[in-house]
Structure formats: C-alpha cells, structure tokens
C-alpha cells in the first residue's frame, strides 16, 4: 500500500439502491491518486461515474470500503475540513434566487472564513480562466447551461483545494470551450483533477491517467496512454473504435473514432 496518497480508495464498493436487487456498479476498488495527476473516469451511461465522484466528494456514502484523503478516512474529516481537501463540480444547479455570477463564485470561499481579503481577487481570476470574466456582474439565472457550467468550474478552482472532482465538465461546452475548459484544468498549478468525461479524445487531450468503469463491478486503472487504446475503448463501450493518426501530427497523437456497432447489434430503425 502506498503511503498516504493524496486521494485513495481501499476496497470501495458502490451499488444502486432502491431496486429490489441492488445493482453493483463498482466492486472492491483499490485506487490511488497522487499529487499532480489528472485522472479521467470513463464508462458507458449508468456505469457509476457520477456515483463514484459523489462518493469521492463525500456527498454519498460508499457501500463498502473507504475513501482516504492523505491517509485519513473522509468520513472522519469534518465537513469544513473536507472543503479544504476537495471541491466538486456537479451538473445540477439550484438558482432559485437572483445573484450575480461573482457572488455565486464567492460562496466557494466559505472555508476561508468571513474576513477573506483575497476572495474577490481569487474569484475573479478563476472566472477569467474559464472565459467568464465578462459575466461577473450578470445574474446567474440568465446564463446558458454552458456558461453556468463554466461558472461552477470557476467556483471549484476558487475554492483552492488540492483535489478537484468534476462530473462531465465539458458536457455543455461548445468545441472552443471544451478545449478551453480542459486546458484550464490541465494548466491549474498544484491541482490534482479527477473528471468524468464521455469524450474519449477529450480524455486523450487532458488526462495523465484513466479509470475505466464497466458498470458491472469491474474496473481498471492505469496511465492514459496504456488504458485509452482503441481496443480498450471498443470493449468498454461495446462499440468498435479505430485509431486515426492525423497527417502532420507527432508520433503519439491519435484520434479514436467510434464506428457503427456491428449490424447484428444495431437497433431496428
């Protein structure tokens, strides 16, 4: 066992509750995240990516095993101290009342206490990094989903935690902002990032490591260039992927393109 990884799972199991027969999403996950790594979590719909991120953030209990931050079980860290360890970006927002974008990002500074002189500067810098600087004074309820999602990511960065957990951070982004968000996460100094993505090429662009979830309990983890292969993606998504090497690209750069599933698997039109 590695000594005090930044973030680790030991024997973590996750289930979907409520059903008569609980469905196992992740079984006995042993996984370490070290400082400076950028992990992508990949898997088909319903594989448990969001559930895992929620468990890593402590907003959902694990159904077995433990989540450790710096060797300490998350459940033994009090809520305020947890906020110094990790930030979470979900894709659900409750903007029932009017507030400015800047105010919304400033809430992420809660852990710094009531007299936080650096709050506005940190929030503004985070907004600028996500191409939202011009929205600072806008009402949060007037934003598009893509803009709202970037504001949520800015808030997570403004929280200044060593670990940032993101649930599909580019789901609502246009191509320009997909690149911009992933680059902002890659460029964030001394942040360790765990993000679920559906875009395999986004993962190739962004991640140093990848965790694959099958949704039936199996998982596999490793360096991105080993795990993110056409063969592994084909198996994971039950869809053939081919690797293309764009002309002019350097040796390792490749693009994974999903093909139509084999005729016998395709649904009747």
């Amino acid at each position: 066992m590695s000594q005090a990884s930044l973030l680790a799972c030991t024997g973590v199991s996750l289930q979907v509750r409520g059903a008569r027969e609980p469905r196992v999403l992740v079984r006995d996950l042993h996984w370490q995240v070290e400082a400076g790594e950028r992990w992508v979590v990949l898997g088909p719909n319903g594989a448990g990516k969001s559930t895992l991120l929620a468990a890593l953030a402590g907003v959902r209990q694990v159904d077995g095993g433990r989540v450790l931050y710096g060797g300490a079980p998350l459940s033994a860290i009090d809520v305020l101290a947890q906020a110094t360890r990790r930030a979470l970006v979900t894709d659900r927002w409750h903007d029932a009342f009017s507030a400015s974008v800047l105010q919304t990002v400033l809430t992420a500074r809660y852990r710094f206490g009531a007299n936080d002189a650096a709050a506005v500067a940190a929030a503004t810098a985070a907004l600028d990094r996500l191409d939202c600087g011009h929205l600072a004074e806008a009402d949060i309820r007037t934003l598009s989903r893509g803009e709202r999602q970037r504001v949520a990511i800015a808030a997570a960065l403004a929280q200044e935690t060593p670990v940032v957990l993101l649930d599909e951070p580019i789901a609502h982004q246009d191509p320009r902002h997909q690149v911009l968000v992933l680059d902002a996460l890659r460029a964030a100094p001394d942040r360790t990032v765990v993000a679920s993505l559906h875009d395999v090429n986004g993962a190739l662009r962004f991640a140093t490591h990848a965790l694959l979830l099958s949704g039936r309990g199996e998982w596999s983890a490793g360096p991105a260039r080993e795990v993110l292969s056409a063969q592994r993606m084909s198996a994971l998504f039950a869809t053939p992927f081919v690797a293309l090497h764009p002309a002019g690209s350097s040796g390792s750069a490749e693009v994974l393109v999903p093909q139509s599933p084999a005729a016998r698997d395709s649904p009747p039109l």
Binding site: A57, G58, V59, R60, Q61, S75, D78, V79, L80, Q82, A83, T84, R86, A87, L88, T90, R92, W93, H94, D95, A96, F97, S98, A99, S100, L102, Q103, T104, L106, T107, A108, Y110, R111, A114, D116, A117, A119, V120, E137, D139, A152, A155, Q159
Partner: protein
Amino acid sequence: MRLAAPAARPRDRHVLAALALAGVASITLALAVGSVAAPWPAVIEALRGDRSGALAAIVLDLRLPRALSAFAVGGLLALSGALLQALLRNPLADPYVLGISGGASVAALLALATGAALWVMQLASAAGALATLLLLVLLARRSLFSRAVLAGDDAASGVLLTGVMIAALTAALLSLLLALAPDGRLRSMVFWLLGDLAGATDKPTAAVALLLFALLLALATAFARPLNLILRGEVAAYTQGVDVDRVRRVLVVASALATGCAVTLAGAVGFVGFVAPHVVRTWIGNDQRVLLPASALFGGTLLVIADTIARTVVAPLQLPVGVLTALIGVPVFLWLLQRR
C-alpha cells in the same frame, strides 16, 4: 447589482441603520397616537421618567409595552418567514407553513372557549406551539436526522410536507372549535385568530418578547453565511464546507420557536412573516447576513404601524391587527412586484 464581499458592507450597514431608525420612529409614533392623543412634549417628559403628567401612565404603562411587544412579534414573524423561505428554498413559505401556529392556536382557542384567564391562554398557546414543534420533529425525523451523509433536497421537502399536513390538521381542529364554541366567546376567539396585541400590553411580557426576539435574531444571524450557501444548492454547500443537515435542524427549530413566541403573544398575525422578507429582498437582494436582520427590523416596524392604526382608526374600537397588516402589506407588495 451588488457584490457580496467587503465592498458592499457599508451600504448594508446604512440599510440596517435606516431600518432601525424607522423602528424607533414607529414606536415613538405609537406612543403619541391613540384614543387620547399625547402631545410630543408629554411623550418626551414621560420617556424621561417624569410620571407627573396625566398622560404618563398611558404612554409608559400601556402604549410603550404594547409597541415594544408589537415590534418583537413582527420581528419574530419576519425572521421566521425569512428563515423558512431560505431553508425550504420556497418563496411561498411563511411562518405558518409548518403548522406551529396552528398548534398554538388550537390550544389557545381551547383555553378561550373555556373562559380561562389571559395568562392561562398564553401558557396553553406556548405549550401548543412546543407540542406541535415536537410533533413536527418526530414526524419529520427521517428528513431531519437522516443517516445519509447528506439528506439533500428530500429533507427540505420532507419537513415542508409534514408541516403542511400538521397545518391542515390544526386548521380543521380550529374550525371545529369555532363551530362548537359558545356564542359569547366566539368573538374573542375570532379576534385572537386574526391577531391581537391587547394581551401583550404589560411590561414583563414586552421584556420577554424583546429578549426572545434578540436571542433568536442573534442565533439566526450567526448562521447567515452557511444559509447563503444552502440557498444555492445543498450538495454545493456541503462540498464547500457547510454541515447542511445540522444548520437545517438548528434553523428549523429556531424559526418554529420564533413563530411559537409570536403566536403566543399576539395570536396568528398574518402576512407580516410572508411579506417582510420579500419587500426587503427587493431592496437589498438575498444576502442572508443582511436580509435576516433587515427583515426582522422591517417586520417589527410594519407591525407597530399596523397596530397603531388598528387601535386608532375607529377608536375606541380596535380592529384585528392581522387584518391591517394584510390591508397595508398586500398593496405595498403588489406595487413592488409591479415595479420590478
């Protein structure tokens, strides 16, 4: 558009100072106005402790405690309403949504129907409020004391639904009591239900009311920062460092206690608790650090003014103050709503 950070604090202080001043002005006005008009020199003399004037007794022993009680009751109701609107993330919430006042009213009307003394009625009302609060906590225990790390949105709606059901039950019981009450007592019962400060005109009552108001306001304001975060989503608040379930437990009980105190003192005064936070929100936004104290001050002022009108327009008759609060509050609120 305002910023939440230090930049906005001076303006917030000005708003609070202006509201406090309005509160003092409304209480001073309440001392001078009534079935017997007291000229300003007489009011000032009385306030200085000079009891020689003929009006001193009326000003000091009747009007002052009543005005202070009205201020405390209005403040408690507005505080309770502001807390519930934030906690339940529902702009329709008011202090009566959880049924606490219904429970207090049932007990108070039972006492009134049997012709009990005023203090018995107030005691019964307080006991009814507490019993209803216990019932609420008991029935909503799964929402309030969830075993999950974060109960999430289900918790707020669980508490709300339980409260609404308790309120519906107490409303039925109130109707039953009114239907069965002896004719002679019906009038006083209806009057109490509409809100009536006549029972809060002695000094000890006013002192207790003000003390409870100050305590609960201080408690609520201490939780204003975490409440700001809860307003923007519970998962986000939790990951940003707020123990959401604990804050919710404390503030649900605080707001229920505020409502219970107010109803015990003055009956079910309507509308202040709903409208005061909304009016203040249109002025200063939704930062709970300012909104909670500002709503409380505004609610107190509103009720003092309403009560002063209620006991003067058709003096020596008194109107139910709860009717006045709605008659003043609805047009003001609608005007603000139109202007937005």
